[in-house]
């Protein structure tokens, strides 16, 4: 039993193909994690990296508290069940199960006990003398599970173990594996391309596509709150209906306008997390609704469609239909207007019927038409707040506050501008106040809906804030984007300072030994790093690492100004950025510019900065990859 930590794991093949990109997850002890996605999404590669059957290009893999990146598969204390079962054909079932234990020099008596116990659990006691070829697919699958079971591993890895079984057996084995997980109380990682398996078995699911993690969440959260259109379409059978639409706010309703002119009204309160810029009727939005969240009637309400096919599955039915064109005619021209409805009783519905589909307003989904990311994130990415300039002040949310010098410089002479405020940049303070209309628990955060006229400002608040309170707050100005007429004029300052540099090694004599030392070189600043980091970079890029350029990222708070007696990077202060609550100096050094935090009185024109190597993250500049 153990927890697992995958931290920024990458798999890059020699030809440059990235099979897995920046995979990070903390897996708790006894969790049942399912990796799901279409072929080629990197799910099996990730599992094989955990097993030790594939090398990890970059990133850290910890089982328990042990870094296992370079550990042999046999020493990782894991067991794996393969898609093809991988039973040794020349050995009996007993020998198959005992083989791994014998290799570990376990006493024969204990081996027998373990094999018999596993055989009993899996009900294969009668087949122990048989060879795999004399067994059915289901029995072989049990033996494969048994072989993993006898090892009593910390982590079970299962690579599409049910994909070779027929549908009935698959359903039965699904239940058995879930029961096995419950009885063993061990961490399970299960790979499948079948979303039904993922939904029914996993405590958490990792949805992957083209090597990227799309979303990590519980089955029901994936179903109810998909992060993007891919997850929405992948989870759920039949898949979610998608339509190209625009949205227009009308009072307390948002009108969804379909391409053919059909309209559906949704209460604003149900979709209040959608940013106002999508509600003007001029931005394309993908509207998503699951087939089971549509009700059908023969009366004239909702989306008019013609039934093209009815699949009666016994307990329920799937109705396939086609929306009409803008004249209400049903033609074969446009393939983007298919609709699928799942319903219990379809006895009075026939092909050719004209029906009306009404989406359940509380179950609708909206996605940005270009990025395909949901417009209803659990925590909205940002609020847009209008501000008016008057002298050295600005008025926003009905309050007049000081206009930070950085904002003033960025907006030029404009008298109005917009602040793009992430909820995390709203902190308790005295600048603004709004009434808390609602509080929603989102994972470990509390999201407050702050009433601002007829819409909301979203903020993350502490436990003491209650619904109905007046919440007093301020902005962390450096974390805001500033736009004028929708055009970005000032970007939020991120938490990291990024500097380009090279990597070097020196062999130094220490006593009788010659010891390798590794350095991050940025201009004349040579910062020694630990041998572990040095060898890690060397193992990823080989000896080319001494020729390549790397991006060194340091948390801004970890960058300190030092005196001439300490090693550091000499720079010239070219400007100051005053955000009111915080002040930055723009430093030019080694041909690169970066911001450092300085106190309000700092006025020097030259500066020497330094940081510790353990605060540095190293990124490859050839491919988008964090190395260490």
């Amino acid at each position: 039993m153990a927890n697992l930590k995958l931290s920024h794991i990458y798999k890059v093949y020699e030809n440059g193909h990235k099979a897995v990109n920046d995979f990070s997850i903390d897996i708790a002890d006894r969790e049942f994690i399912v990796f799901v996605g279409p072929s080629g999404c990197g799910k099996s590669t990730t599992l094989r990296m955990i097993a030790g059957l594939e090398t990890i290009t970059a990133g850290d893999l910890l089982i328990g508290d042990t870094l296992v990146n370079d550990m042999e598969p046999k020493d990782r204390d894991i067991a794996m069940v393969f898609q093809s079962y991988a039973l040794y054909p020349h050995m009996t079932v007993y020998e198959n199960m005992a083989f791994g234990l014998r290799n570990r020099k376990m006493p024969e008596k204990e081996i027998k006990e373990r094999v018999m116990k596993a055989a009993k659990i899996l009900d294969i006691e009668d087949y122990l003398d048989r060879k795999p070829k004399a067994m059915s697919g289901g029995q072989r699958q049990r033996v494969a599970l048994g072989r993993a079971l006898v090892r009593d591993p910390k982590v079970f890895l299962l690579d599409e173990p049910l994909s070779n079984l027929d549908a009935k057996l698959r359903a039965a084995m699904r239940t058995e594996i879930t029961a096995l997980h419950k009885s063993l109380n061990t961490t399970f990682i299960y790979v499948t391309h079948d979303q039904v398996e993922a939904m029914t078995m996993g405590t958490r699911i990792v949805v992957m596509k083209l090597g990227y993690v799309q979303q990590i969440d519980t089955p029901m959260n994936l179903y109810n709150e998909p992060y993007n259109k891919f997850v929405a379409g992948f989870i759920g059978t039949p898949q979610m209906n998608f339509f190209d639409t625009t949205l227009k706010r009308e009072g307390d309703k948002v009108i969804v306008i379909f391409q053919n002119g059909d309209k559906v009204a949704v209460p604003y309160e149900d979709v209040s997390k959608i940013h106002n810029r999508y509600l003007g009727g001029d931005v394309k939005v993908t509207f998503g609704i699951r087939p089971e969240h549509i009700s059908v009637s023969k009366e004239g309400k909702g989306l008019k469609f013609i039934v093209t096919n009815v699949e009666r599955l016994g307990s329920d039915s799937i109705i396939y239909g086609k929306l009409g064109d803008h004249l209400g005619e049903f033609t074969m021209k446009d393939e983007g207007n298919m609709i699928v409805v799942k319903m219990n009783d379809s006895s009075n519905i026939e092909v050719g019927d004209v029906l009306y589909a009404e989406p359940n307003p509380s179950k609708v989904h909206f996605f940005d038409a270009e990025t395909e990311i949901t417009l209803m994130s659990k925590i909205p990415p940002f609020n847009t707040i209008e501000a008016a300039v008057s002298g050295d002040s600005m008025t926003a949310l009905g309050k007049k506050v000081a206009l930070p010098a950085a904002f003033k410089a960025a907006i030029g002479g404009a008298d109005r501008f917009e602040l793009v405020v992430p909820p995390r940049a709203i902190v308790p303070g005295n600048d603004f106040e709004l009434k808390v209309a609602r509080i929603e628990k989102v994972d470990n955060d509390r999201l407050a809906y702050l009433r601002n006229g007829d819409s909301y400002v979203f903020a993350l608040v502490g436990e003491s804030v209650r619904e109905g309170d007046t919440y007093q707050f301020a902005f962390e100005n450096e974390k805001l984007n500033v736009t004028v007429g929708g055009e970005e004029v000032l970007k939020a300052i991120d938490d990291e300072v990024s500097l380009l540099g090279t990597f070097s090694k020196k062999e130094l004599k220490e006593g009788h030994d010659r010891v390798l030392h590794f350095f991050y070189d940025i201009g004349e600043y040579s910062l020694e790093t630990s041998p572990e980091q040095g060898y890690k970079i060397n193992s990823i890029d080989g000896d080319n690492c001494y020729k390549y350029t790397y991006r060194y990222a340091v948390n801004r708070n970890a960058v300190r100004i030092v005196g001439d007696d300490e090693p550091g990077l000499n720079g010239r202060v070219v400007a100051f950025c005053d955000y009111g609550n915080i002040r930055f100096a723009k430093v030019e050094a080694d041909g690169q510019e970066f911001l450092i935090t300085v106190d309000p009185k700092f006025a020097a024109d030259k500066v020497r900065v330094a940081f510790n190597s353990e605060d540095v993250s190293v990124y490859s500049t050839r491919i988008d990859m964090k190395i260490c």
Binding site: A51, L53, A86, H90
Partner: protein, 311 residues
Amino acid sequence: MSNILQPKKVKSQSRNRRISLGVTYAILGVMSIIWLIPLIWIVLSAFRCEYQPDGTFIGTVTSNFFPRQFGLENFTKLFSGTYYGVDNAFLKWMLNTLIIAVIDCLISTFLVLSVAYCMSKLKFRLRKPFMNMAMIIGLFPGFMSMIAIYFLLKSIGLTGNPQHPEYSVIGLVLAYSAGAGLGFQIAKGFFDVIPNALVESAKLDGCTNFKIFRRIILPLAKPIIIYQALMSFTGPWMDFIFAKVIIGADNARFWTVSVGLYSMLFGTHPDTNLFTQFAAGCVIVAIPIVTLFMFLQKYYVEGVTAGAVKG
């Protein structure tokens, strides 16, 4: 003129098939006669037992295809005869060949299967370049390297060693088996069909690569082991050039059968009256190989066709 249309005469399918089969069998028959005649001739010659009117044995090539008399005299003469000053020479040659073949068979089979396993199941940087190199080298006939091998062996005293002529046998075994690993392609094809998941599963079960090879791969590779052993075993029985060069013309005691039989007719002391004994020798040499092929042909076919179709 009758209004009734006469059905057009068409050749039946079975008739076409019969004609096609007839032609095929005729061609195959002629080809098999061409191939079998030399074989039959050798076998008939081996059992030819004819005498001159003066009572001397006719051991030469004769104009009559079928012997006028049959007998085993050629075989008795062959086994008891003294050739090139060596008593019971043929038996000694047979024994030499058997020893060389068995040792070569063991070494070559192990080398070929090991290399094939590495090429099929291990992933390492120079794998592909090595396979390409092996294929290109394999395109050249083996005897191209003969002179180099001769001088290499001579420099370490394993050929042309007047004090220890028997070392030439070791030299010959080395020459046969040292390069065997390059002929890994067929065995690799067989191993490629064994799922990688088995190897990976064994790795998770705590096996080293050698243990995987020994405990997992070899038990599943019976056909290819037999095929490879057969190939390695028959090599020395059939090879003439290397045996002739490495053992040398003077060490008749250590010749292999092919060199010995050749020398009976075309060597330094050729004797045309030994032709029928030569033929008997050919028949004797063929017996172990034919027997092995007959008993192991099932595995041989499995081995040689392994990897041809996905199993």
